[in-house]
């Protein structure tokens, strides 16, 4: 237990900042117009202000309330996100198969229950499945292998 509900304080604070930021940005960059002929900035500006208010509605009560800090699973989060990112970075320049191998290798670091050799075999099976289903079966224009240089 902590003195304040810091988790909700953070959530409310970030939302308030985001809302204010959006409203100010919309106000500064886009045309507001009038209600009978609305500009592109009016709707986002109003939404931003509303979000800031609701953010305060989360932040303020949390200041006077005890709370627990949630534990972040750093390992799972970074492995899964990095695995997805690896796919995104590799798929266009190296092709689908290398991207899947990289994704599987990085992602399975999340709990390290699979031995490296098993990961390689598993990745190979998944890649084969994808080539058959997505490339051959559905005919998606996604390169199987590519070479950027």
């Amino acid at each position: 237990m902590q003195k304040r509900d810091y988790a909700d304080c953070a959530a409310g604070g970030v939302l308030t900042a985001l809302g204010l930021g959006a409203a100010i940005y919309a106000f500064g960059h886009y045309d507001m117009g009038t209600f009978s002929n609305m500009g592109s900035g009016l709707f986002p500006a109003v939404l931003g202000a509303l979000l800031a208010l609701l953010g305060l509605g989360i932040l303020v009560p949390a200041l006077g309330r005890q709370g627990t800090m949630p534990a972040i699973e750093w390992r799972s989060a970074s492995a899964v996100l990095a695995g997805t990112l690896a796919f995104a970075l590799l798929v266009d320049s190296f092709g689908m198969v290398p991207a899947i191998f990289a994704m599987a290798g990085v992602t399975s670091l999340a709990d390290r229950k699979l031995k490296p050799l098993v990961v390689i075999i598993f990745a190979a099976l998944m890649a084969l499945f994808c080539v058959i289903v997505f490339r051959i079966g559905l005919g998606m224009p996604i390169p199987v292998f590519a070479w950027p240089f």
Binding site: A7, Y25, F35, L51, G57, E73, L81, M103, L138, P141
Partner: protein
Amino acid sequence: MDLFANIALGLETALSPSNLLFCFLGVFLGTFVGVLPGIGALAAVSMLFPLTLHLDLTTALIMLAGIWYGTAYGGSIASILLNVPGTPSSAVVCLDGYPMARQGRAGVALLMTTASSFVGGSIGIILMMLFSPVIVAYALEFGSAEYFSLMVLGLIAASTISEGSAVKSLAMVVLGLLLGTVGMDIYTGEDRFTFGLLQLSDGISLVALAMGLFGIAEVIASVRTVETGTVNSKDLTLRSMIPTLDDVKRSVMPTLRGTGLGSFFGILPGTGPTIASFMSYAVEKRVAKQPERFGKGAIEGVVGPEAANNAADQTAFIPTMTLGIPGSATMAIMMGAMMMQGVAPGPGLMSEHPSLFWGLVMSFWIGNLLLVILNAPLVGLWVRLLTVPYYYLYPAIVMFVCIGVYSVHNSAFDVMLVVAFGALGYLMRLVALPAAPMLLGIVLGPMMEENFRRATMLSHGDLATFFTRPISGSVLAFAVLLLAWGLWVGIRNSRGHVPTSG
């Protein structure tokens, strides 16, 4: 009424070989994913959604719908056999389904849930057939002001009725609406909030958002928490599924009551199968002559909630299809699928695309029938699936997410968006900010803005138009009441007066 002509048209569409095949594939994949731990209905629908973009629209919707109600069946299998709900809406089924399994009556529980789901689903479908034309007749008279007000009501209902803090849900709705404004403004052609990124001028990809928030975030949260169970499959012979006469007698009324509750909560925006099944359990416990049997394997506590969640699954389509206003995040994805293929759901849908509408409705029936036929012989397969360890599952889930998102626009940028929304979704989970309202917001955002602009243009800038038009005014009044109630409950709870619920 030419209801019968419509039914015939629907059957003709739904029974065409390719639609039948994809209906089967949908319910099969739905049950498959529903059984697997750690993937909910929403994640299942959004993961398999890109696959359907390559199909004809009617076929695509039939398959997506099959996935959606198939997960409910799969979820209850996991609940009964393992005491682990595969999907939130089948959490209640654990309460009495698992005790039944421990008494060696898993077979009976499975068969009776299948039967009551079928009854619940069927009645839901009939309601949809009867009520949709009526709602459409009214909706054709709605103008922009009415639509805007209805959307406001839908969003407020979705955030105040669902569990958790109303302020948090509302904040997420507004964040979703704000994200919905990203991209080119349809009126002025100006790019908004794209910060020079060309890929954003079409708006944020709905698929990327859904997969990040529901796919990747769910995987991160599940990697270390999902345990693999062990099931004794020897008890599950076909003979063990035969219920006693007493079981059947006890099940009739709970099934009907559950169907009623489910149909009602399915139509309302923001509620849906999960709330319907919890309500049904509470009702059954209250009306039971021996409430002490509940929690120890009472069949009433299994069939009622199951009927409720399947009826709700079907009736949830009514507002989506007739008004174009999705009541839940899953329906928002369905709507996204339709819009990406160039068909806007709404009152015009039934008259402009009758074979799509009626074909979809009739496919629900065929799908539910397929599930009944599928479930009995395949129960052995489902049991084996329950024991697949999560460390094999999660790389496969991530792979489907990556390929799926990439394939929609052949865009690696969209996969990067998944990374961003995955991180955001995980952080939101940690601080208990719900992701579903955000998805509703991003889908409804552009439509709300368009209707708002059109309505104020027609009224020459007079905002009173939303309140003085009778339908729009009463809808908004109701929305304000609901909002006040939601906030009041929130304030009361935060002061420590937690309401006691049965």
